[in-house]
């Protein structure tokens, strides 16, 4: 760290007085601090509660948005009406719009946002690098290639999902393999391996585009790669939903060892963390979620990079808090962006374009605020 030399200098003079300070400071703070830290935890629980509440409000509002406007009250009635037997004060069209048109899309947005943000938070913590995103191991590019290939060959949507998922996992395995062979598993070589694998699959995507029929297949591939939730169906979200839930569970299980990993690989080992196991779980969970998301919604960038930073401002860097905060914020963020994508203009805007247009300047703002800590 560049700052450390400076900070050492600044400490000059305070020197050996720490011991003498002890007498003055200890009685004052030792009574206050434990309650202070407990209050801190309470505040964070409150913040997570507020996030959940905000997300619920956003979900209800999102159901109402679109060319066919619905009031939040109608939306709530329709939704409750699915579970309970209440008097029907809504039209059949209301019901179709809520349940058939908007529900899959909203569930899809929540799932994609949660998966990308949780993945990004996990990778940033494990790599100790705030500039890392879930695409770092080339997973997204490879999954994009899998999907492009399926479109080129005119395969069924289910096969497309499986191919996208399969190539995404393959990319992570290749990156890990390169990292292992070249650098004995060091983080920087893993990142380099990911860059190589990502570039390779990016080139392969271009090959499918070059070979595709410019009349119909090429636009199909191009639009698919721009990302969007226009194609999701409720049935098609069941398996991805289960995968994301399992992966979030895996990350939650290692939330503390992963936090300690942020102190450095070697130090984590001397603190008793099984580095290999934690890395394996993190890479597995993140890869499965990212490949999964690309297989249903195409390549949606910037979410996994930006949202964890916002989450860190709210809940702090400890992964035990970062994971729920990132997941909730990410779900809400992507839902809000998708609301814009489908209701701002008469045409359905590609999600990947919007997340990049919003994410990039937002990221610059975050850099300006927190940048000095990172450099």
């Amino acid at each position: 760290m560049v700052g450390s030399a400076e900070q050492t200098d600044r400490s000059g003079g305070r020197a050996g007085d720490v011991a003498s300070l002890q007498a003055d400071v200890a009685p004052a703070t030792s009574g206050k601090s434990p309650t202070g830290s407990l209050r801190g935890r309470g505040r964070i629980d409150l913040r997570i509660g507020l996030l959940v509440l905000g997300l619920l409000v956003l979900v209800v509002v999102s159901f109402g948005l679109g060319r066919y406007l619905l009031t939040p009250w109608t939306v709530v009635q329709v939704l409750i009406g699915q579970l309970l037997d209440i008097p029907v004060h809504w039209t059949a069209t209301d019901q179709t719009v809520v349940m058939q048109v908007r529900l899959p899309r909203i569930v899809g947005a929540l799932l994609v946002g949660a998966a990308l943000s949780a993945s990004g938070a996990a990778y940033q913590t494990a790599f100790r690098n705030p500039l890392v995103s879930p695409e770092i191991l080339g997973v997204a590019a490879a999954a994009g290639f899998g999907a492009s290939l399926a479109l080129l060959l005119g395969l069924a949507p289910v096969v497309l999902q499986i191919m996208a998922f399969g190539f995404g996992v393959l990319a992570a395995v290749l990156s890990l393999g390169i990292g292992r062979i070249m650098g004995g598993g060091s983080t920087i070589v893993l990142v380099l391996g990911g860059i190589v694998v990502g570039a390779m699959f990016q080139a392969l995507i271009s090959v499918t585009q070059y070979l595709a029929d410019p009349e119909n297949t090429l636009p199909e591939i191009t639009f698919w790669l721009l990302g969007g939730l226009g194609r999701v169906s409720l049935g098609g979200l069941v398996v991805p939903g289960i995968i994301v839930a399992v992966c979030l569970g895996m990350l939650y299980a290692v939330r503390w060892p992963l936090t300690v990993l942020a102190a450095g690989d070697d130090e984590a080992h001397t603190l008793g963390v099984n580095r290999r196991l934690v890395w394996l779980l993190v890479v597995a969970a993140t890869t499965l979620m990212t490949a999964n998301v690309v297989s249903i919604a195409g390549i949606i960038g910037w979410v996994g990079l930006v949202v964890p930073h916002l989450a860190r401002f709210i809940g702090g860097p400890s992964f035990a808090r970062l994971l729920p905060t990132s997941t909730l914020l990410g779900a809400g963020y992507l839902l809000a962006v998708d609301d814009v994508a489908r209701s701002a203009t008469p045409v359905d805007l590609p999600l990947g374009i919007l997340t990049a247009l919003i994410g990039a300047p937002f990221f610059v703002a975050l850099l300006a605020r927190a940048g000095r800590q990172w450099l």
Binding site: R10, G12, W256, V273
Partner: protein
Amino acid sequence: MAVNGVEITGLGFSYGRGGHRLTDVSLSVREADVCTLLGPNGAGKTTLLRCVLGLLTPEHGTIRVAGINTAELSARELARLVAYVPQTTSITFPFTTLDIAVMGRTPHLSLTATPSGADRRAALATLADLGIDHLAHRSFAGLSGGERQLTLIARALVQQAPVLILDEPTAALDYGNEVHLLRVVTELAAAGRAVLMTTHQPDHALAYATRAVLMRNGAIIADGSPEDVVTSDSLTELYGTPIHVARVALPGPGARSARTCIPVQHVGDGSEPTRNGGPPCASPV
């Protein structure tokens, strides 16, 4: 004889492509010992520490901690016996001082657990013992070098390990913080821990250590009390430059004195380095 500390026997290690290596290193550090490892860059001091910490796997020999062969221990089991204070640490994210200290509880937690309120209180109490509990909720990255190093010591103490390993813990500190930190370390040893520490300052061995070990080219060339081991001759040979160890009288009641080392210059160019480094043939720098 079972040593309730670290016992290293016949340790051998080499990095694949040459570099530092260790040959037949044997060393034991008992409880209440402050053992300083001295030697030039590349002597293998850090390599030895990394072997004890389980970060490197030795090719030959055994390392026993509290009588247990560390090769048979998991990272978690080893971390309950050996705690580590690095030279510096860089933490990217804005963890608080208390967050860092409570990480020391990790070897006492199961894989899927997080520290409890009791763990946080224990960490806070350790910060208070070191006189830095007022920093508990400050960002670790914003602390001064001395405060950070004390925090890392707190983290190691929270581990409750009988062995404490420090790799040049004062390298980034100003003189006052250096003295304070080393006093803390000697107190911790006096409380019953075995301390193994590398340093580039022979004065640390003279002023704070109960044992001094000199290493060169991956081997131990001297091991004993600082009084016997750290001498003008041994330091001159170890570092390849004339060094004089002088006894100075200390002010105050009684006939107190301490030894300190002073680098000295050759009188004439091209002459052999002066082995005894005595004042007649050398002048202070």
